[in-house]
Symmetry: C2
Subunit: 373 residues, 2 copies
Amino acid sequence: MSVQTLLLDFSIDPARLGDEIGQKTVFGQLETVLKEYIPNLILATELKLEGGSLKLLTGKKGSTVSVRLFDRGLVTVNIEYYKEENEEPLINLKCSKLLESSVRMSLDCERVKLFPTIKRGYKYDVYLTSSDDRLLEYDIDAVIFDEQSPFQRVQIVHSKTLGNMLVLDELQNISEADLIYTETLMQRGKESYEGKEIVILGGGDGALLYELLKEKPKYVWMLEIDEVVMTACNKYLRSICGDVLETRKGPNYEVIVEDCMLTVNKFIADGKKVDYIFGDLTDIPISESACGELWEFMITILNSSFKILKPNGKFMTHGNGATSPESLELYEQELAKLKPPVKYTKSKAFVPSFLEDWYFYHISFATTDNGDA
Amino acid sequence: MSVQTLLLDFSIDPARLGDEIGQKTVFGQLETVLKEYIPNLILATELKLEGGSLKLLTGKKGSTVSVRLFDRGLVTVNIEYYKEENEEPLINLKCSKLLESSVRMSLDCERVKLFPTIKRGYKYDVYLTSSDDRLLEYDIDAVIFDEQSPFQRVQIVHSKTLGNMLVLDELQNISEADLIYTETLMQRGKESYEGKEIVILGGGDGALLYELLKEKPKYVWMLEIDEVVMTACNKYLRSICGDVLETRKGPNYEVIVEDCMLTVNKFIADGKKVDYIFGDLTDIPISESACGELWEFMITILNSSFKILKPNGKFMTHGNGATSPESLELYEQELAKLKPPVKYTKSKAFVPSFLEDWYFYHISFATTDNGDA
């Protein structure tokens, strides 16, 4: 079952909607068109509103059509009806396009916009958003895994274009089409990991660990808190994580399942230092100021990480979408406050499953002297 | 000016909506939440409908809220209001997210979905669709060029992520971020164009001609019908087409502005044959069968093209989105009918401005003997 919402709107000369007679005429023309597409359509009620009017019609099978006429020359039409899973839509794609051209011709409008039918309450949600809160409809055709862990909602969905995709709390995380994400995060070809000691904070999908191990590091500690994420990825994202989430431990790596700060603090206490730290936890929060729990967490992580980094070491992390420059700038302001001081470079890559450009940060001590202080 | 449409829906235990009292209770809880976000909200009307009921509320500044309760355990809420360009939205992003969590908590729902606010009738349209008719919101922030040519509506819009983008009849065509498109179409690095004679059918954005000229061909004829497209691209897509649409003619190329079939037929009459032909016209139509004007046009183009192709020549073209396999198959069926017979290979690339994988075809004579027949 799902509810189908068809949104259509058009612009006409405001003079045509200027008075009640004008609105009646426009509505009459529209009603005639709508009746060709929706059986048993009748006017149920009408309201006069500030700046226009609203007519509500009902049709076959409890379908409703709300028509809003705005004095300023805009008309919105919202058609809504209930559809059983195997039932044919009341208005299919072909019909909706015919409806659009009928409206264009009958009403002689300058502009008509028909949205692809919005599906609501279906067994899987195909709508995700970009970092700047744009609406993106994915070609998701199955939910393969869906479990609430103690930390987040963990889903593996299947997209026709992207393959399997990890979605955490309704945010697209990584898909089988996203090698570029991991390669940009680790700066493959630009950084050398051979013989190096590396800490991954988070990284539960296993992709980063899997790719790093190909570069022959001395040792990798992966510190992930969420067992459910790893179970799901091990089963359904094998093409990006290989068997590292299955084995959990090898001659030069281990996955430690707990709050990453425990191991980091242990390293601090032991005076242990590593060559690379990957911040593969949450993204930079999108917010107006660097306040709140998430920012505090991120700043704590940064401060502690630099305490276990060798003077020439690097902290590598993903930032956020290129369309959210405000949040990136807040992050950079926080970096500027770190003591000892740090310097950084940025890289950008278009990440297929995000459908947008993403920024990555590579941070190191501003001077190696300070770094070891 | 624009109309803002906020869509929110949630699922609850159908037992809670099973009778009129239940529906009243759920609606009452929802109304209490909504009143916190929309000033002056009052119930204007209610209707009993097949499978549920509908309540219509009105609020400040002619805003309307339609609440549809479906017996099957789904509730949809559509909030709509008019907004002047410089006016603050009645419900901004932060408020809409608070509204979402208020609904989740107050109504104790299993699932709540809030869509990013849909903007309708704004001075530019940020919503485009994928080849399989999915809704995609682009970060378009300006319309730079908008003109109806004798053939199509020609727009250049600006996207924060993609730079300038050519949109023809509401279809995204090429952007400044799409070198991969042209390089996959021409199979750069796999095909050698040096010293070759090439015909481009269409290609009005100039990107293909510009890239081909870098490969030192003997001669390129570009046959484009739409002067308006070339004027727009020459001015606003310089980074992808260089100055080829400005000069229009050089020692080894010329742009002929007319129906491409005129030159193709002239070549046929003269017995002139070339090494490569690029079909850079319309995409493979998305349809249930290979019928209609567009398909006929495409088949005519194919048949004529092979008449001016050398035995070892190739016809290179873009197909369609990977999520529309039915249309790709129809195209392949048409290829199988061509006489003399042809063979083909396919390539796929993720095209940034399309936000999806796209297929490209490289077609040649099945045997060189037949090819010259």
